[in-house]
């Protein structure tokens, strides 16, 4: 817990606040949307900012604020499911690969190489193209496309850990393979995967928006930012807010998660000592020597 708080402190409060905000509206969005995000009212279409509709209405008279909040939910729930699926499968594959080595490693890693050689979004596009556009097809496609990244990451961490003296001692002491994997390798890998995933969430949010923008992901009437962007495009000149608002929301989410993940990774890395600390050490050392 203490470790968690100190990590958050290292990240910096603006980013923490942003991420907390997104998580808050994902969890409680349904209670705070002023209107039903799918309720149309053609007669009040394309209204500008007002006290009734804070962020105006879209081309079908739906409340933009409600749709933005609902869109955040759609995106973050999707991102969470994908990260959970891709992370789990990737970690299992990576751990098997790193622990057993030899031909198992070869086979899995060549498959992973193949997966990594094609851009993830292309893989997802191909899968959705074959199975048809729908919400769940998009989730599955993106999960499959993201598995190789986590498999490769986990395998690296496990491979390094397996040769550590404490794992070797466990082996000598007769610990079972399962015990070593479950109690000593996965926790190490999990830390790395979570750090990577927190940065990856932004990229995935963008991928979901991309697919939905192309009409291959989230289907109407479910609100989603990419879809809001594409349906706002024809109104770019008349009501630019229809494009700008979801665009800004998406940018904030992508940048927020990227900075968040990056800061955590930095906080977890050993840093060189500051000048003051270095001087202090030197003094102590000199004192000891003198003594």
């Amino acid at each position: 817990m203490k470790d968690f708080i100190s990590t958050l402190r290292a990240v910096g409060w603006p980013i923490n606040l942003l991420i907390a905000f997104f998580i808050f509206i994902t969890l409680f969005g349904s209670f705070i949307t002023p209107y039903d995000p799918n309720a149309q009212d053609l007669m009040s279409a394309l209204q500008s900012f007002s006290t009734r509709h804070w962020l105006g209405t879209d081309n079908l008279g739906r409340d933009t604020l409600s749709r933005l909040i609902s869109g955040a939910q759609t995106t973050l729930v999707g991102v969470t499911i994908i990260l959970a699926m891709a992370g789990t499968v990737g970690m299992v594959l990576g751990t098997i690969s790193g622990f057993f080595g030899r031909w198992v490693d070869e086979v899995i890693m060549r498959l992973v190489d193949f997966g990594l050689s094609v851009p993830s979004l292309f893989v997802a596009l191909a899968i959705v193209g074959v199975f048809g556009p729908s919400y769940w097809n998009m989730i599955i496609a993106l999960s499959i496309a993201w598995v190789p990244i986590y498999a490769r990451l986990t395998r690296g961490v496990v491979k390094a850990a397996v040769n550590q003296p404490h794992i070797e001692s466990l082996r000598v002491l007769g610990a079972s393979r399962t015990r070593i994997i479950v109690h000593h390798l996965i926790p190490v890998a999990l830390g790395q995967v979570l750090i990577y995933a927190s940065a990856d969430a932004g990229l995935l949010a963008l991928a979901i928006a991309n697919l939905s923008f192309l009409g291959l992901g989230v289907q109407p009437p479910l609100a989603e930012w990419g879809q809001m962007l594409v349906s706002g495009m024809p109104y770019l000149q008349e009501a630019p807010r229809l494009v700008i608002l979801p665009g800004v929301a998406l940018t904030l989410m992508v940048v927020g998660f990227n900075l968040f993940g990056e800061s955590i990774a930095l906080a977890k890395n050993p840093r060189p000592l500051s000048k003051r600390k270095l001087a202090l050490r030197r003094q102590l050392f000199m004192k000891e020597k003198a003594a």
Partner: protein, 522 residues
């Protein structure tokens, strides 16, 4: 010592910029002074293979190069073109064309009975073209003399003259413009224009100096390929093109028309000749029930769709054809959206329950195929229908497909609901009824809007009725379709063109298959 201060630098740059702007302003954007009248129009895609017997190229470009025997003008009036006059047999089983003398193809080949018959034999007797009554009913082609050709049919063919106005496969190619084995080689016709340059990025045409009709008042027609609508709009505003519009040329959506208007561009509209409608898949059990079709019809907010989605560039309707189409019949009242009446009808039809309705444990779920590139604006339209149907407990999902997938799925009846557009001028009132509703004809690439053996005899009677009885016969078909809620007509969209100030006079052509060049002046 300091010659160049910050202030002098800034001032100098501003002055230079101002001079540059003035200088640019003086460069004429068009070489009008040199007597070079170039009209630049956009195409949404490249003109493509212009073979008049193939369905590939852009209609409006083919129409510039190749002439018809007779010309379709507003309201379905037929005027002479390559045929100076014609005699239609009393029983409508034959038509004799008297060809226009002294007409040559742009390669010097003569227009006469021989070249006409050579052209007709390339397609008229072939089975591929029997969606046309003139091909389906063909008995024989008779060369009466060098300038007279009679075409005989096996049965009365009232559509003959209208069908001879079509762009493809009906138009005339120079007999020299083919390979040794008779395959099409180059676009050579008798039309007002000839191709100077044809490339994927655009097509340039120059007037045919030997044209038999009124010669174009332009020196060149430059067609630029601009696939993206927003790029076309900025090109028009920047003065890079002179006009845009036409459903199959470079369409302007209602929203785009509003934006262009707000930016001072002239927007011209005309009553549309087609109808946007929602079709129920006639081969699934759900839609064989008239009550269900009736209920779906009552759940559509036609007024709202016309006013908001179409920005007022559409007339809500319950008719299959707009008034401008011949024999389109009397206007039906457009019902107000009535959720309660629709719910009652669904209850009667056995679809009951709270939330999503169901019958015999089967939920009332339907899928609407939408294709933004085949039917522009169809996604937003789909979302409106979705919300409207949901209120009565119908779960409508949207399936986004591309143009090609739609052309594959629709003829194979792989859909529950789909948006259709009637054929419009010059094809209607015959084609939509004869190809998309008559069940004895195989569905073409556009599929079937509706089919029911009960209405077939009425359609047959209308298509073959002699002139005096035609109106009543068509009315009988249209009444049957309306009374049985066969489909859900939505609106007649207006035809939209936008042009800049360089164009002094502009007239929307008679059909969507032509360029707006008649009556255009720079």
């Amino acid at each position: 010592m300091n010659f160049i201060t910050r202030r002098t630098l800034l001032g100098g740059t501003a002055a230079l910029g101002g001079l540059a702007a003035l200088g640019l302003g003086n460069i004429p954007a068009f070489a009008d002074e040199a007597g070079n009248k170039v009209l630049r129009l956009p195409l949404a895609r490249a003109a493509g293979n212009l073979d008049p017997q193939r369905y590939v190229g852009i209609f409006a470009v083919q129409e510039l190069i190749f002439d018809p025997l007779v010309q379709y003008t507003r309201g379905g009036v037929i005027e002479p073109a390559l045929a100076e006059s014609w005699d239609l047999a009393e029983d409508e089983t034959s038509v004799t064309f008297h060809l226009r003398p002294d007409v040559t193809f742009t390669d010097g080949e003569k227009w006469n009975a021989a070249s006409m018959v050579w052209n007709l034999e390339r397609w008229l007797p072939k089975e591929d073209y029997n969606w046309l009554h003139i091909s389906n009913n063909l008995d024989r082609i008779e060369t009466v003399d060098d300038m007279t050709v009679a075409i005989h049919f096996t049965k009365p063919t009232p559509t003959a003259l209208t069908e001879f106005t079509y762009v493809r496969p009906v138009r005339f190619l120079s007999p020299k413009a083919v390979d040794a084995d008779g395959t099409y080689a180059e676009p050579v016709g008798t039309g007002p224009w000839k191709i100077e340059k044809d490339a994927p990025e655009g097509t340039e045409l120059v007037p045919n100096e030997n044209y038999w009709g009124t010669r174009p008042q332009l020196d060149k027609l430059s067609l630029v390929v601009i696939p993206d609508a927003r790029s076309r709009m900025s090109a028009l505003q920047a003065g890079d093109i002179d006009a845009m519009g036409g459903a199959f040329i470079a369409p302007v959506a209602p929203q785009e028309a509003t934006t262009l208007k707000a930016n001072g561009i002239t927007v011209v509209t005309d009553t549309g000749t087609d109808t946007m409608l929602l079709g129920f898949n006639p081969r699934i059990e759900l839609f064989k029930d008239v009550k269900v079709r009736h209920a779906f019809n009552l759940l559509i907010d036609r007024e709202g769709i016309g006013a908001v989605l179409m920005k007022g560039f559409a007339t809500p309707t319950m008719n299959l054809y707009p008034e401008v189409i011949a024999y389109s019949g009397k206007r039906y009242d457009v019902p107000k959206r009535d959720v309660e009446a629709a719910k009652a009808l669904l209850e009667e039809a056995g679809w009951t329950g709270d939330g999503i309705r169901s019958r015999d444990g089967k939920p009332l779920k339907v899928e609407l195929v939408v294709s933004e590139d085949a039917v522009p604006n169809s996604r937003a339209l789909g979302e409106v229908l979705q919300a409207g149907f949901a209120e009565a407990g119908i779960d409508l999902s949207l399936r986004n497909v591309d143009h090609a997938a739609r052309h594959g799925d629709i003829p194979e009846f792989k859909y529950d609901l789909s948006l259709f557009v009637t054929n419009g001028a010059p094809y209607d009132p015959y084609n939509t009824l004869g190809l998309m509703i008559l069940s004895t004809i195989q569905p073409g690439t556009d599929g079937k809007i509706f089919e029911d053996p009960e209405v077939d005899p009425l359609i047959e009677a209308a298509l073959n009725a002699p002139e005096g009885e035609r109106e009543a016969a068509f009315q009988a078909v249209l009444d049957w379709l309306h009374d049985n809620w066969a489909m859900a007509p939505l609106y007649h969209a207006q035809r939209i063109w936008a042009h800049n100030d360089r164009i002094k006079a502009f007239e929307i052509p008679a059909t969507e298959y032509e360029m707006p060049l008649k009556g255009l002046a720079l």
